[in-house]
């Protein structure tokens, strides 16, 4: 769909369901909750479809609403990181290329971060957004976003270099 044309709901769903669902899944670490949240976001979009000026506008709206709904959902249901950093198991061997165990361990480490840094990491590494875009999306100062990124990366790097022996 070209940006600038009025979007069709089914096309928007198929085009952006992976983005919406994955933000929720990586943030909540609960597949059922992520699916329900993603459905609610799209149903809200359906109710407000007439307000969408373009496909780009709809994509931006979906990402913003998903991010804020995830944070609200976690606060409402008092979802704290279910895995303490110390409880994340160490991989048995050194990491190979695209190791599924390492990926799972990284996802768990990200899930163990506090709410805001967790969302900053997801937006940076899942959505590949620049810190400025993340700051705008989260209504957060740019330096706070950069600080969250640096601290979270430092924590992950330290955890890995100490235990796995992989130098980052």
């Amino acid at each position: 769909m070209a940006a600038g044309t009025l979007p069709d709901f089914a096309v928007l769903v198929r085009g952006h369901q992976a983005m919406v669902f994955s933000i929720a899944l990586h943030y909540l670490r609960d597949r059922a909750a992520a699916e329900e949240l993603a459905q609610e976001v799209f149903l809200q979009l359906h109710r407000r479809l007439a307000e969408m000026k373009s496909a780009e506008h709809a994509r931006h709206w979906l990402r913003k609403v998903t991010v804020h709904r995830c944070i609200d959902f976690a606060r409402r249901s008092r979802i704290r990181p279910r895995i303490a950093l110390e409880d994340v198991p160490e991989p048995a061997a050194a990491a190979a290329e695209s190791d599924p165990m390492l990926s799972e361990r990284l996802r768990k480490l990200v899930a163990s971060l506090p709410e805001k840094p967790r969302m900053v990491m997801i937006l940076r590494f899942q959505e590949d957004l620049e810190p400025g875009e993340i700051a705008e999306l989260l209504n957060m100062p740019l330096r706070t976003v950069k600080s969250h990124l640096q601290r979270s990366l430092a924590m992950l790097r330290e955890k890995f270099s100490c235990t796995v022996g992989v130098g980052f």
Partner: protein
Amino acid sequence: MSSLEDRLRDALRREDPGPEFTARLLARAAAAPALMPDWWRRLAAPFRPAKIRWAAAGVLACLLVVAGAVEYRQRQARIEGEAAKRQLVLALRVAGTKLHLARAKVVELNGGL
């Protein structure tokens, strides 16, 4: 894959929820209640931004407070007016009784002469 950033991108890559998700969502959307009438959405459109909604709520709250204060003052004035009226009627009654007694006394004195 060398850097932590690349590994994070790989770990946090997007995942499609699957065709069942799409089918369930489109069915729910089709069954969703009808949208608000067009005239209502046009009427509500200026109040859609959150800042304008808050400002409108603030103005409405101020109007309610002012209207409440005016109504309270009017009610107080009415109560005070009614109390003053009751006191006046009582005073007139007392004065009337006194005049009646005085007149009776005068008549009595004149008759005695």
